[in-house]
């Protein structure tokens, strides 16, 4: 049986598994009897990748079939500071898994979307996961956090998504909320107003926010970057999702 290496972002971990990405997604989200269930995001990485910091070889060695011949589902290699030790060129594909185990595979795209006008909302996923508003587009936001920090706070690598702000992006004070499902929406609105009146580029909305978020709110896709470069995994359009990946789309809209 082939052994795969998965870089989980939720929670941050490196896992060896004999399951295919689709099987692993289902297992990770719903298949465990004793573990918590829920949304999962992971990358498949090159199986021949090795690192001095991570005991990958040992993990691979332990990843053997069960006595009954069934595949080993998971061997946790590391659950600490994983992302920063994975070079982005070994990342092969992103998998977005819904609460109920529907799996969507997404390829990386060369072009990073151009920064749009207005304000932005980011859900950082790993290694920390605050909920942040910013005047900066995704590339500038990544650069501020990873490459050119202007404060004491910086990260060696980051995984994040930009979430939709609807009318609030242009008109934080009076824009209609419509289908924005965020908790404490008035606080979010105030943070956006503060951004537009103060000199800072980013503002934390919620520092203990869970990493999970509704997929339906993703504005464009998922970003993962380290000191070398930024990778972008664009989510297909709503129309394409509905037409080609109906089951995933439906669960993602729950």
């Amino acid at each position: 049986m082939t052994i795969h290496l998965y870089l989980s972002m939720m929670p941050e971990a490196l896992i060896a598994s004999m399951l295919t990405p689709e099987e692993f997604g289902v297992y990770y989200a719903v298949g465990a009897r004793k573990k918590a269930r829920g949304q999962a995001i992971f990358f498949e990485i090159a199986p021949d990748f090795r690192s001095d910091f991570l005991h990958i070889e040992e993990g691979m060695r332990r990843c053997v079939p069960h006595d009954d011949g069934s595949p080993k589902r998971s061997i946790y290699i590391s659950v600490y500071r994983v992302l920063e030790h994975i070079p982005l060129d070994v990342i092969q594909r992103l998998y977005l898994v819904t609460h109920d185990g529907r799996v969507l595979g997404v390829e990386a795209h060369e072009e990073i979307p151009k920064d749009s006008e207005g304000l932005h909302l980011y859900q950082e996923i790993a290694p920390v996961h605050p909920f942040v508003v910013s005047t900066l587009g995704p590339r500038e936001f990544y650069e501020l956090i990873v490459k050119n920090p202007v404060t004491l706070l910086s990260l060696p690598a980051i995984c994040f998504v930009e979430l939709r702000l609807g009318e609030l992006a242009e008109d934080p004070k009076y824009g209609a909320v419509r289908d924005l499902p965020y908790s404490s929406i008035e606080h979010l609105r105030q943070c956006l107003v503060d951004l537009s009146t103060k000199t800072v580029h980013t503002k934390m909305v919620d520092r203990i926010h869970p990493a999970s978020f509704p997929y339906r709110m993703m504005k464009n896709g998922l970003f993962v970057g380290n000191a070398e470069w930024l990778l972008y995994f664009p989510l297909p359009s709503q129309e394409e999702l509905r037409a080609k990946y109906y089951r995933w789309w439906r669960s993602a809209n729950m």
């Binding site: 719903v30 269930r37 819904t98 419509r178 289908d179 729950m254």
Partner: protein, 694 residues
């Protein structure tokens, strides 16, 4: 009844035509393409579940019908007018006739329900398959299948009532027919309501809330029970409910008609038979109106259904005017019929106003949901209370108009009130057709989802489903307002029957017995509601345990590698619903008899009055509030106030779950409860008048 006898034949003939068209449509639906193998497999699970539940229900009802039939045969064999005197005589023929009428009434109601449901479980998959060709084709299959229920129901009722009256010439025997229909309706409606909400709530709480599985997902073990519930609750149950009101209102007016013109047998027969005339005209109007229900390529199904209802009402108005003028009837019956029709439309559209997402009540309830479930419930409940006002004013106006215009034209006022109820219900063929369409397209949506049918099919089914919800709200308004007028008439019929036994009914609030009766009557609908809703929570709790067990013991179900045990949930829902019927059924049938025998006819009069008033208010409140909460949730899901997953949405899901047993279990069953209690009272009135403790 020499001059009126042709009208009885006309009624029976119209009923036969209606049943014949229903049978033809039944065949037409079965000849449509049944879709892919997978879709047919899903549909077969639903069909098996629904058939198995109805088989069990009808078996239980057969036992109830036989037991009650024997009691009725024995009790009504005695010459009740001389009960308590030495001159008492025994007439087994009369008792047997009454019992037979009772059984025939129950059988007719059961056959109509069974026909409707069996075509619904065949039409659901065909409607889904037809959606590939377009909305018009899919709509036609669903609506014509709904029409089988509507036409079979009115047809069988007309044949049954006409035949019993033709054979006996005694409206009191026809009352037995009505009691049979109502008893079955009460149990079918309440049982169906408990079944459908047990499955719905359990499927949602574990599937959607705990595991985040979407609606109608094949991995949910309760999904088939949920789809079966749509059929047994909304098709068979609602059909039996309207069958009951339809028959009860007609019979009550026949009884009142028989007490008019005591010195002129021809006129007496003419007005005794007039309700049957209205039934015949209503059937003709419905048969024509159904032809007008069409959607174009991009047409709106909701508009098509409403157009059909309005055209049917207009045709009935024209036909009634012609018959009244040409048949030399007093004009009071025409005004009463028109008042009834107008009230039906007003109350139906009032329900639509309070439950439609385009109007303030739903929009406002959705808006405040951001502040939590409590405020959602308070707001929805308050609008539900307000929604009773226009309906009650409509019923009050219809009562006043029909009463005084009937008096003005030389008829008994209360006879006019009864005619307004019959007028409203005479278009039941069309109303039930629209109503039964709803669960069929709801099922079609579920089958499309489970069988992985194309996006086009799902989109079409969504549009059809939304129209079905509106039709359902309007039907409920119709059913409740008709039941209100029917029980007012039955109340008068009860007084009339008691009066013929030499007891002048005097219902005064200064009489402590009457006050006790009113209080006991007033508390019965809330108690009945509580019992049925507690049954839902109790059964849902058991089913939640079963769903969790399946997910826990078979992880492959959620992973999509193992098939759930759908039958286990179907079985639990059926068993739970049937067991839960015992106490509410006993309450409805035996409580009025107990009050009458113990406290006397005046107290029973007060009891009926109390139950009618709280029953109507509770029925309107629960149906409208439940529909309002449901649509407030859907409004948020459409992308307002944060959309799906927002705090407002979570609050609205709580409101919707509270509203589920309101609108689909307790609320609609109350019509039947008050009708059954009024019928039991009228039926046993002669005995109660002769023998009571106080």
């Amino acid at each position: 009844m020499p001059t009126s006898q042709p009208w009885v034949f006309v009624t029976i003939f119209a009923g036969a035509v209606s049943v014949a068209v229903a049978v033809w449509l039944y065949g037409w639906v079965h000849r449509q393409d049944a879709g892919t193998k997978k879709a047919q497999e899903v549909a077969s699970w639903i069909r098996e579940g629904a058939t198995s539940y109805l088989r069990r229900l009808y078996l239980a009802l057969t036992l109830v019908a036989v037991a009650l039939g024997i009691i009725i045969a024995i009790v009504f064999s005695f010459d009740i007018e001389h009960l308590g005197t030495e001159a008492i005589s025994v007439d087994p023929l009369r008792g047997g006739g009454m019992a037979l009428a009772f059984v025939v009434g129950a059988v007719c109601s059961a056959v109509a329900g069974y026909m409707g449901m069996s075509v619904a479980v065949a039409a659901n998959v065909r409607s889904a398959a037809a959606a590939n060709e377009g909305i018009n084709q899919s709509f036609r299959v669903a609506f014509y299948a709904g029409s089988v229920m509507g036409l079979a129901m009115v047809g069988l009722a007309a044949i049954g009532m006409g035949t019993v009256y033709l054979l006996t010439g005694d409206p009191e025997i026809v009352l037995g027919f009505s009691f049979g229909a109502s008893t079955l309706a009460l149990l079918a409606k309440a049982g169906g309501g408990i079944y459908t909400k047990t499955a719905d709530i359990a499927a949602d709480l574990v599937g959607k809330v705990e595991l985040g599985i979407p609606e109608d997902d094949p991995r949910n073990p309760a999904v088939i029970a949920d789809l079966v519930g749509d059929n047994v609750g909304d098709v068979a149950g609602m059909g039996a409910d309207i069958f009951d009101s339809y028959v009860a209102s007609t019979v009550a007016v026949m009884l009142l008609g028989a007490s008019l013109f005591q010195n002129d047998a021809v006129l007496q027969a003419k007005y005794t038979v007039f309700p049957l005339v209205l039934c015949a005209l209503g059937i003709v109007a419905s048969l024509i109106g159904i032809r007008f229900v069409r959607v174009g390529k991009n047409g709106k199904p909701g508009q098509a259904l409403n157009r059909g209802t309005i055209i049917t009402c207009a045709i009935l108005a024209v036909l009634t005017t012609a018959v009244v003028l040409l048949g030399d009837y007093k004009l009071g019956v025409l005004w009463a019929t028109l008042a009834g029709l107008a009230t039906g439309i007003v109350v139906g559209f009032t329900s639509d106003y309070f439950t439609s997402s385009e109007n303030r009540p739903v929009i406002e309830t959705a808006r405040v949901s951001g502040s939590g479930a409590a405020i959602n419930i308070i707001t929805g409940f308050s609008y539900g209370l307000i929604s009773t006002v226009p309906s009650i004013i409509g019923i009050a106006l219809a009562t006043l108009i029909s009463y005084y215009l009937a008096e003005w034209s030389g008829l008994s006022g209360i006879y006019g009130v009864g005619i307004s109820a019959v007028g409203m219900l005479s278009v039941s063929g069309m109303i039930v057709s629209s109503d039964a369409y709803g669960p069929i397209v709801d099922n079609a949506r579920g089958i499309a989802e489970m069988a992985g049918m194309s996006q086009k099919v799902i989109d079409t089914a969504d549009v059809l489903d939304a129209a079905g919800n509106t039709a359902k709200a309007i039907t409920k308004g119709f059913a409740i307002s008709a039941a209100a007028l029917t029980v007012l008439t039955l109340f008068a019929a009860y007084a009339e029957v008691v009066g013929t036994r030499g007891v002048e009914l005097s219902i005064s609030l200064r009489d402590p017995m009457v006050i006790v009766g009113v209080l006991l009557g007033a508390v019965t609908p809330p108690l009945f509601s509580a019992l049925t809703m507690l049954s839902v929570t109790d059964n849902a709790f058991k089913m939640i345990g079963e769903i969790r067990r399946q997910f826990r013991e078979y992880p492959g179900i959620l992973a999509g590698t193992e098939k759930p045990d759908y039958a286990a949930c179907v079985d639990l829902a059926a068993q739970g619903a049937l067991m839960s019927l015992v106490l509410p059924g006993f309450l409805a049938i035996f409580l009025p008899i107990l009050v009458g025998f113990v406290l006397g006819p005046e107290a029973l009069g007060g009891f009926l009055g109390g139950s009618i008033f709280t029953g109507i208010i509770f029925a309107l409140l629960m149906s409208n509030a439940g529909g309002l909460w449901d649509n407030a949730k859907k409004f948020i899901e459409s992308g307002e106030h944060g959309g799906t997953g927002s705090d407002a949405h979570k609050a609205s899901v709580v409101g919707d779950t509270v509203g589920d047993p309101f609108k689909d279990t307790a609320g609609p069953s109350l019509n039947t409860l008050i009708t059954v209690m009024s019928l039991v009272s009228s039926l046993f009135a002669p005995i109660i008048a002769a023998f009571h403790l106080f």
